[in-house]
């Protein structure tokens, strides 16, 4: 089995990840980080209708960008996935 980044559940995963994880910085010059107002939005609501992203072409765009990057990484012209 190969890991995916471009299916709905992967998008759900990274939204979760981006809002909750990632390095938290503490510095004098920091404006905002952990207590970002976005967290105040119901995350469930934020994710509802995640698939409607396809309507904006965002998902396809992302998918296409991925595949393009992947192709640049592999020597096989038929491969459409990153195989390091």
């Amino acid at each position: 089995m190969e890991p995916t980044k471009d299916e709905t559940h992967a998008i759900v995963e990274f939204v979760d990840v981006l809002l909750r994880d990632g390095a938290v910085i503490q510095a004098d010059v920091i404006v905002t980080v952990a207590d970002i107002p976005l967290i105040g939005i119901s995350l469930r609501a934020a994710i509802a209708g995640m698939t409607t992203m396809t309507e904006y072409g965002l998902f396809e765009e992302w998918d296409a960008a991925h595949r393009q990057q992947s192709e640049a990484f592999t020597t096989s012209p038929t491969a459409d996935r990153r195989e390091d």
């Binding site: 089995m1 890991p3 992967a10 759900v12 010059v29 404006v31 980080v33 976005l38 965002l58």
Partner: protein, 281 residues
Amino acid sequence: MTDHRPSPEEEQTTANEERTVSNGRYLYCVVDTTSSESATLSTTGVDDNPVYVVEADGVGAVVHDCETVYETEDLEQVKRWLVTHQQVVDAASDAFGTPLPMRFDTVLEGGDASIERWLEDHYEGFRDELASFAGVWEYRINLLWDSAPFEETIADRDDRLRELRQRQQQSGAGKKFLLEKQSDQRLQELKRERRTELADQLKEAITPVVNDLTEQDTNTPLQDEHSSIEKEQIVRFAVLADEDDETALGDRLDTIVEHEGVEIRFTGPWPPYTFAPDIGK
């Protein structure tokens, strides 16, 4: 009732006016610029801002200039920002290798000079962290289980449950109710055991090929709307694995999927979001 309702753009402007930032830099991630020949990145970031790298002696911060922090009530906007944020981090990963990823909406004040100073202040830490994450990525593994096939056949394998069910059929109303309760309890117990067993098997299978593993809350507020109702989430792991071990990890997951009713969701490679240390504490 008024004729004029604020358009989303107008609402946006109002929201943004509440928190302006002086000479702000929106920070995506920190990268090892010695891993690439040129310390540049040509991509556009959140809100179409050009993304660039601020460098200090081999350590780079991937940023764009911003005058506000990103906050909105518009959920579609949130999704666009998040997707774009991840695209930038992906582009940075392709150019510089595994980055130290920041949480969404991390904004520093004081322009490039401030960023450079910040990089210099934490220089040793960044070098160490980047070195330790080089060539490794985070993967997410989600184990789901449809218990229906298990429930259908478990009585064939469990003497106690079989006995309870047989007695149930031969009993009168009052006794039958009690036995029904007992067999249901036995079934729940067996399902609990099976869940633990599956989670343990998964952990055991992947542990040899990962550098780090952390179990995550299965009660995430975010649910995939395509999640089938039949399948319950048993366990979620975030693992840190060498990119060379990705195939081995996938192969091991294949052995778990062979169990009846089991589905594995395997995503990645992500930057080490879960394993990234907090900076400046």
